[in-house]
Symmetry: C2
Subunit: 293 residues, 2 copies
């Protein structure tokens, strides 16, 4: 599999690492970067991540046979609009957003249909750093990539995106749009909400200075994700509001029961809950994550 | 300050580290360990953490001028009962439990009063490891110790406990019982409930195997505390149910609002919440914790 010309819209950690991985695998001939920040794009050229750049989406996608969208979810629709009429007939479009329903709806809103050559996707990979400087060729090695083809998706387009990710050393899984959005709401979006919500609740309490002063190391680990990019998370919440809202209400119902169990001091019920959670975490999470890292 | 004979009931990470720190500071003459597990106590002698041991609380505290209780909160009352009638007149009793109201109530229930020589306390320190093997002399270096004297507490007893912790390199803060329990509910107990509750909620969903499979590294960090000791946490919840129940209801109210904000897709309100949380975390938490570690 060789990509003739790859257009990357948004050359940061995710887009830059895809470029580096494909170059390392000798699976791409030319890479065109596109974005707003000139310094970042120039740095990307200096680092050899991209061959050239433009600030114009239409120009970036012209003549590309593969287009990768690594823009915030809130910028997807305008990005589709900017490329309309400029895509080559055989160009495949894919993305890295963490909500898939919204990306497909953005495509439909702009093009009036879900493009057969759109393969919505989501690499389950990342670090806490951002920008092209933070990108590296091994980011996707042995990591999971979820692709969410619809009925409209062309099998050839799907096969090309699948091959692209496999060239990066990733493991590709296919999933329905709805199921992807539910799984991500549970494992990523909800935990971020809990951490943002916890820090915000404490910050709004009187004497918050003092409260934070007595927070120990565990609290820092637990709330690290509350230092994530607020704009990105606003976009994720709005984009995935259906699945995330449902998941949050489910969780809050369970927590309401836990609060009542604590208030009535029911030690047996608490021990059962905590033991079940510990077993689940020890069995699934470490096992599963260790095998992929 | 020199302790003539220190009795440590519960020779694990917390009790063992106190012993090591006081020895390193040359602030104690003799240390008697007490606990149920013979292997652990024998290992404590071999490591030089304690001089000798007994399984009998009454014997351990006899002739001690300082008694440190490092037993689970659920075992405090029976431990007070076991030492009744065996404490020397000048013996000071202190502890390391993460809830202070319950310890004071346990003392009152056994002795019919809050002992003037009881100085309830709580070192804000620990690691994920347990047992005497995990203990080390530097655990309390530059860490905060909260002491919660009541009206009944003798100033001399308080001064002796304060001096003991200062000899370990710790920074001692005085706080009311109620305030301690609220602060710990907010910064430690509540986060543990959120993590236990999240893992348990996911574990009880159908297809939980698959959900955990797509959890990324951030999820592992966030839920690490759900692998904590379930028995210990049952005890903490029951002991601090008043403050923790109140704090959980406060948090759940805020999260209910957040869920509604997400469901109506109110991006401006979400951006405000996430930005405020990020600012609070970046400003307070890293700053405060960095200065103490």
């Amino acid at each position: 599999m060789t990509i003739r010309r790859l257009a990357i819209i948004g050359v940061g950690l995710i887009g830059g690492s895809l470029a580096r991985a494909l170059r390392a695998a000798d699976a791409v001939e030319e890479i065109v970067g596109c974005g707003r920040g000139r310094d970042n794009l120039q740095r990307a050229v200096e680092l050899g991540v991209i061959d050239r750049y433009t600030h114009d989406v239409a120009e970036a996608v012209s003549g590309a046979d593969m287009v990768f969208l690594a823009v915030p979810l809130g910028a997807m629709r305008e990005t589709f609009a900017a490329m309309q009429g400029h895509l080559a007939a055989d160009a495949v479009v894919t993305d890295g957003g963490s909500s898939k329903y919204s990306v497909i709806e953005d495509c439909r809103a702009v093009f009036g249909e879900v493009l057969p050559n759109l393969v919505a996707g989501h690499p389950i990979a990342g670090t806490e750093n951002s920008g092209v400087e933070a990108s590296f060729a091994e980011l996707y090695q042995n990591r999971r990539i979820i692709l969410t083809p619809t009925e409209a998706t062309s099998p050839d387009a799907l096969a090309r995106v699948q091959a692209m990710w496999q060239a990066c050393g990733a493991e590709v899984t296919l999933m329905s749009v709805e199921h992807h959005d539910e799984v991500l709401a549970a494992t990523s979006h909800l935990p971020h909400m809990l951490a943002f919500g916890l820090v915000d609740t404490l910050a709004r309490m009187k004497e918050n200075d003092e409260i934070f002063r007595y927070a120990a190391g565990g609290f820092r680990d637990f709330t690290r994700i509350a230092s994530s990019n607020p704009v990105m998370w606003r976009d994720v919440c709005v984009a995935n509001r259906r699945a995330l809202g449902k998941m949050m209400n489910h969780y809050l119902g369970e927590m309401q029961e836990l609060a009542e169990t604590i208030e009535r001091g029911d030690g047996d019920a608490l021990l059962e809950i905590f033991s079940r959670a510990k077993r689940a975490r020890d069995r699934y999470i470490d096992g599963v994550l260790d095998s992929t890292e």
